[in-house]
């Protein structure tokens, strides 16, 4: 019983640690995403994602809209230039993490 409890605690603590680490990873990714966003996207989409309605409000992107996001970034859309071969997949991951961390829903 005692052993089980200890094992359970260890298991419990371990998974908590894993969740915490994942959250920390996401936060680091979002932080990296902010920098890439600020350098490449903010001049049209606004400081810290707050725009003036002239361009698309990225905070409206929903959790399942990563393909839509990726298509627009890589291929361009309306006045937006294509970023293929400039922004790397890791950059897209980071920007996406930043947008999702600040999304409306």
């Amino acid at each position: 019983m005692k052993r089980l409890c200890v094992a359970g605690l260890l298991l419990c603590a371990g998974s908590l640690f894993a969740v915490g680490a994942r959250a920390q990873d996401q936060a680091d990714l979002a932080k990296a995403g902010f920098k890439i966003y600020d350098n490449n996207c903010a001049q049209c989409h606004g400081d810290r994602l707050v725009g003036s309605g002239i361009t698309f409000d990225l905070r409206r992107l929903k959790a399942d809209e990563r393909p839509r996001f990726e298509n627009s970034v890589l291929n361009g859309k309306n006045q937006m230039p294509p970023w293929r071969n400039v922004l790397k997949p890791a950059d897209l991951d980071a920007i996406w993490a930043y947008i999702r961390a600040n999304a409306n829903e």
Binding site: N39, N40, Q43, C44, G46, G51, S52, I54, P81, P82
Partner: protein
């Protein structure tokens, strides 16, 4: 004898006919020189080579402006910002945006021709401040403009057909783009580049106005080993900025073009120690050769993006009892600079907005006196800076009234929290500013000010919650015209600052109004169409809800 006479008559007739047809569509060098004296047309950026944006027309005046009504509106078929100043010749308006040039009948609003310009969409990756164009030049029957991909194109003013096209030999992937309205001076088309946020090495190009042939290129920043290169740390000059994205002005008597150069790159100063010549400078050069006669730097080693490109307005001012031919700049750094046109000497420097980065101008060394704020910023400490990177005013041009002796400036009231961390290496073509900024926005973010050019003090000012980013224009009718980001086109009493008239256009105004005359009727024309970096970044979210879509509006007095 008789035949000779006949032949002579025929020659005379053909000369006369040629004279008449070319007079109908001339815009010769002399026409451009006299643009500010002929209020019927608007043939130059700045409504005259002196860039005063002053018109002697007065049918629309303080008494009659209440009867000013729209004559027509013309759609640019576009959602980007309309920043361009229209040109007007013989009642025909020429207007540009990022990918269109159009000729419109100024009386009826009917389109005469329209040209759509193609450019690679990838160039928009290096466009820092909105997908815009700032206007065209007109010369000998040609409308001459730039496109974002560093191309200058001349179109037949009658048909829109391409006459020549010249691409500057630079790679947009390295950060170069063009939004500037060209200046035609002494038969030479002068254009500049944008891209100091992307590590360019700035330059001006001169092209033959008839053929587009490149005559010269003048870099604003020295190459390795050239004089001035010692004012840059290591190889930082190679990506040092010094853009030239706002049209200069021209003094035909001195045959000198005056042009402002932009900020050093990157904004973080810690990897480019030195004066960083010739960024943030006013250059005076000969248009035929590009030879620089003088260069006066306003902000050596600028850490704050106080991009010195703003309009250069000429006037004759009485200073200490002497009439001086001056060129004036209301700078982003918050100072109003008055320089002698022939020599570039600083005659007068006064602040026209609140500032904390400098405590005054040192007339001995011709440098701003820096405060602790500047020293701390350069040392990598966090500081609060006034004015912000947006400046005491921005590129949107001021106007000057020779009657009131006042400058009408849409000023900013904005600060920023600033931090320059240890610098990273700049890479041409990548937007690498290497600073951390947060804006400070008071309740009233801007003013329309009537500023005394010799003191910097405002005779009157109107506060605005959202700052204006349109140019101003003033008239002998005693009016100042300008526009708001929320779309109102306003006419103000130039003497006391009372708003006398207002018209709500469909979108935000970021362009420059002009006035002109046809068949005894005075017209006022302005573009409406929100866009540009200020609206998209700094003014957000205060202008959220202002509709996009660009239109050109023309007004006249009711019943005229």
């Amino acid at each position: 004898m008789r035949d000779d006479k006949h032949t002579g008559f025929a020659i005379l007739a053909s000369i006369l006919a040629a004279g008449i047809s070319s007079a109908a569509f001339a815009q010769s060098a002399a026409d451009l020189v006299n643009d500010n004296k002929n209020p019927k047309n608007v043939l130059t950026y700045g409504m005259g080579y002196n860039a005063q944006r002053y018109s002697t027309l007065k049918q629309v005046n303080r008494d009659t402006v209440k009867d000013l009504v729209p004559a027509w509106a013309y759609s640019m078929t576009d959602q980007t910002g309309l920043e361009a100043q229209p040109l007007v010749h013989d009642g025909i308006i020429y207007i540009t945006n990022h990918n269109r040039t159009a000729a419109v009948d100024g009386v009826t609003g009917k389109e005469i021709w329209r040209v759509v310009h193609e450019y690679p969409p990838e160039v928009l990756r290096v466009v820092c401040c909105g997908i815009v164009n700032r206007g065209a030049a007109i010369y000998n029957g040609k409308i001459i403009r730039t496109t974002l991909d560093n191309t200058t194109v001349a179109l037949d003013a009658k048909t829109g057909k391409e006459v020549w096209k010249t691409k500057a030999d630079v790679d947009f992937n390295k950060g170069y783009s063009m939004t500037v309205a060209p200046l035609v001076a002494n038969g030479v088309v002068v254009v500049g580049v944008a891209g100091a946020e992307f590590g360019i090495r700035g330059f001006l190009d001169g092209y033959d106005a008839e053929t587009g042939a490149k005559l010269w290129r003048k870099h604003t920043i020295p190459a390795k080993g050239e004089k001035g290169s010692e004012t840059w740390e290591g190889d930082s000059a190679e990506t040092g900025g010094g853009s030239t994205w706002v049209t200069g002005s021209y003094d035909p008597e001195l045959d000198l073009v005056f042009w402002g150069t932009g900020n050093p790159a990157p904004w973080n100063p810690r990897g480019r120690r030195g004066d960083n010549l010739h960024t943030n400078s006013i250059l005076a050069f000969k248009p035929k050769t590009g030879d620089v006669v003088w260069a006066s730097q306003t902000d050596p080693f600028d850490p704050f993006d106080h991009d010195g490109v703003n309009a250069l307005v000429q006037a004759d001012l009485t200073i200490n009892g002497q009439v001086k031919k001056v060129v004036m700049q209301a700078h982003r750094d918050g100072y109003l600079y008055v320089l002698e046109r022939a020599t570039g000497a600083f005659l007068n420097v006064n602040k026209f907005v609140d500032m904390n980065w400098s405590s005054g101008w040192d007339a001995k060394s011709n440098r701003p006196i820096l405060t602790e704020v500047s020293f701390k910023a350069i040392a990598g400490e966090k500081v609060e800076v006034w004015p912000s990177l947006s400046g005491g005013t921005n590129w949107h041009p001021m106007s000057y009234s020779p009657v009131e002796n006042l400058l009408y400036i849409n000023t900013f009231n904005l600060g920023m929290n600033y931090y320059a961390p240890p610098p990273e290496k700049a890479v041409a073509g990548q937007r690498t500013l290497h600073v951390e900024l947060t804006p400070i926005k008071p309740e009233f973010q801007g003013h329309l000010k009537a500023v005394d050019p010799l003191t910097g003090k405002a005779k009157w000012e109107i506060p605005f919650k959202v700052a204006n980013t349109a140019g101003t224009m003033n008239t002998a009718g005693g009016l100042v015209f300008t526009g708001q980001l929320t779309g109102e086109f306003i006419a103000v009493n130039s003497s006391d600052g009372k708003i006398l008239w207002k018209f709500q256009t469909p979108s935000g105004i970021i362009s420059q109004p002009v006035t002109w005359e046809k068949d005894g009727v005075q017209y006022v024309t302005v573009g409406s169409g929100i866009g540009g970096v200020y609206a998209m970044r700094t003014a957000a979210p205060d202008v959220a809800g202002v509709p996009t879509g660009s239109t050109l509006w023309t007004f006249k007095l009711h019943g005229k």
